[in-house]
């Protein structure tokens, strides 16, 4: 906790630019998974809750810390699992399907989705 506030601010500003730039061209087809995936990422607050519970003194702080760890675990575990489930379905899978007229190519579908 000895790090200068300016360094933290700098990191904040740079991370904001990175987040903004990276997401700026995502296609609408991915809005839902992206929302859910970023939701999982902020579950990393779990790391903070662990540190807090580790340092907690007295019952109040311990209870708050315990609750925090519990909630953060829900967020991070649930977030990544649900996103994965969603994305798992996001693929061309002509093989699972009843016979289709032509051997439908896999790539065009995905390529079209990006455009």
């Amino acid at each position: 906790m000895t790090v200068g506030i300016i360094e933290l601010l700098t990191i904040f500003v740079l991370a904001a630019f990175v987040g903004n730039e990276v997401v700026s061209k995502v296609p609408s087809i991915l809005h839902t998974p992206l929302m859910s995936g970023t939701n999982a990422i902020h579950g990393i607050i779990l790391v903070g809750t662990m540190a807090i519970l580790g340092q907690a003194q007295g019952d109040v702080q311990t209870i708050l810390g315990f609750l925090a760890v519990l909630l953060a675990t829900l967020n991070v575990v649930g977030g990544f699992v649900v996103t994965d489930r969603m994305l798992e379905m996001f693929k061309a899978k002509p093989s699972d399907r009843p016979a289709k007229s032509a051997g439908t190519p896999e790539e065009p579908g995905q390529g079209g989705a990006t455009s």
Binding site: T32, A40, G112
Partner: protein, 472 residues
């Protein structure tokens, strides 16, 4: 290098992992790998956290920690595995809310630790308190706001905008009270003031979300997601933890952008989504639409007519909308499409970016029903094809095919891009009534001579159509 430096290095690695995960999630090809990379980065960071002395030597609190994590995992995994794809928005809302809650609790405990430690050296630095307050405020709003969003989407309360007398006055009062308490807390570092402020922040989350209509809630969730990110970043400031700052800010910044992109896809401004009820009180039922609707004749078809029409068509375009999600008719729609394909009819789905209950949601629903990618076309790709389609089968969609968006300046949806069902030879609407869609405006296309209506719940009518096509 000391152990703590190693921890910090691993945290930096995890942060890089999150950035790459976000890059992956932004492209359809690498989305799944991206998510897995993110999960890996999180696991790494969590494992490393166990080596920090204050955690490692926390004794009974270490046990509590592990217990909390086991309970959390035991709840989260089955919930995430079993949730229906149609209930995705609720699920995201709840995971987001707990994250916000955790961030608020971290900031709160950090405040307690801060004030108890510094009791001998005097008041802690102002900016430390400001960081804590920001974390608590944003986290609490996100927590209670997400909870209300969940309740709305789960239809435990009405999805309609909830308004009550003196709403503005109450909002203003809560807002001013929070600001006042925040300033007082900064000046006095008093715990009681902080607790009252936290409670009011929870209230603020509730009254912020109540007036927002059900169909706008997904956009709201994206915004609250962004809030939680910022709350996590604020906790990162309190704890001097770079990983939390980076991960939180990434989510905060990308969430805000995503929210704006969603509003844009709906042809509206973010402010409009959040602060106007957008006439959806009028929408839901009765009133103006009944009058306008009944005045003019519409063509109503039987399932058999329409079954024959489709069975002998060359190209059928299915345009799914919010109603398909509500009726959970995606599997039946797929059955119909398969049947038609087997008969040699060319079938594909035309997906509007804001069809369904949340942006991109229709893709997820249809993917769940095993509809392969190559049958889904995005709006821009589908529109040129519609001119050569024999039948446009509009299943529970309305606003997203309403020509008023193109040719009626002043209409609330004017300017929103639509799917051009009107270009097809025949248009079939599967809906329950003549009631308008979310935007609450009449749809001229329902009265078009080319249009046939088939009233009823989408799942029922689709089942009937399947039978009709089979016997055609």
């Amino acid at each position: 290098m000391s152990l703590l430096t190693w921890v910090d290095l691993v945290y930096l690695l995890a942060a890089i992992g999150f950035i790459l995960a976000l890059k992956g999630l932004s492209s359809p090809k690498f989305a799944r790998q991206g998510n897995m990379l993110g999960a890996g980065a999180a696991t790494l960071a969590i494992a490393m956290t166990f080596t920090i002395p204050s955690v490692r030597h926390a004794g009974s609190r270490l046990i509590l920690m592990v217990v909390a994590m086991i309970i959390g995992t035991a709840i989260a995994v089955p919930a995430a595995r079993r949730v229906k794809m149609t209930a995705m928005p609720q699920m995201v809302a709840i995971f987001n809310g707990v994250g916000g809650g955790a961030a608020a609790l971290v900031s709160m405990t950090a405040f307690l630790i801060l004030t108890s430690h510094d009791s001998f050296t005097g008041k802690p630095a102002v900016y430390k308190i400001v960081e804590v307050i920001l974390g608590i405020l944003i986290g609490c709003v996100s927590f209670s706001g997400s909870a209300i969003a969940f309740i709305k989407l789960q239809e435990l309360i009405t999805g309609r905008p909830i308004t009550y007398p003196a709403q503005q006055v109450i909002n203003a009062f809560v807002g001013i009270a929070i600001v006042g308490l925040a300033v007082a807390t900064v000046l006095t570092a008093n715990v009681a003031l902080l607790v009252v402020m936290s409670v009011l922040a929870l209230v603020l989350g509730v009254i912020f979300v109540l007036p927002i209509g059900g169909a706008d809630v997904p956009v709201l969730i994206s915004l609250l997601n962004s809030f939680t990110g910022l709350a996590v970043a604020a906790s990162g400031f309190s704890l001097g933890n770079n990983l939390l700052i980076i991960a939180g800010t990434l989510v905060g910044a990308s969430g805000i952008l995503l929210t704006r992109m969603m509003s844009k896809a709906m042809g509206r401004s973010l402010a409009n989504v959040l602060f106007s009820a957008f006439g959806s009180v009028v929408t839901a039922s009765g009133g103006a639409d009944g009058a306008g609707a009944d005045a003019r004749p519409v063509k109503v078809g039987t399932p058999e007519d329409i079954g024959v029409l489709m069975a002998y068509a060359r190209k059928v375009v299915i345009i799914p909308g919010y109603g398909l999600a509500v009726a959970q008719a995606q599997h039946t729609a797929r059955e119909l499409a398969d049947l038609l394909t087997e008969r040699g009819v060319e079938v594909f789905y035309a997906i509007h970016p804001v069809a369904g209950r949340m942006p991109g949601h229709m893709n997820v629903l249809l993917a769940e029903a095993n509809v392969p990618y190559d049958e889904l076309k995005e709006m821009d790709e589908a529109n040129p094809e519609l001119a050569t389609a024999d039948v446009a089968l509009v299943v529970g969609a309305n606003d997203t095919v309403n020509p008023a968006a193109n040719n009626t300046p002043g209409s609330p949806i004017y300017g929103m891009p639509i799917i051009h069902a009107d270009l097809a030879q025949h248009i079939v609407f599967l809906k329950r009534s003549m009631r308008p869609g979310f935007a609450g405006i009449d749809n001229e296309l329902l009265y078009d001579p080319k249009t046939t209506m088939l009233f009823g719940d989408a799942k029922d009518t689709l089942t009937k159509l399947v039978a009709a096509v089979k016997s055609a």
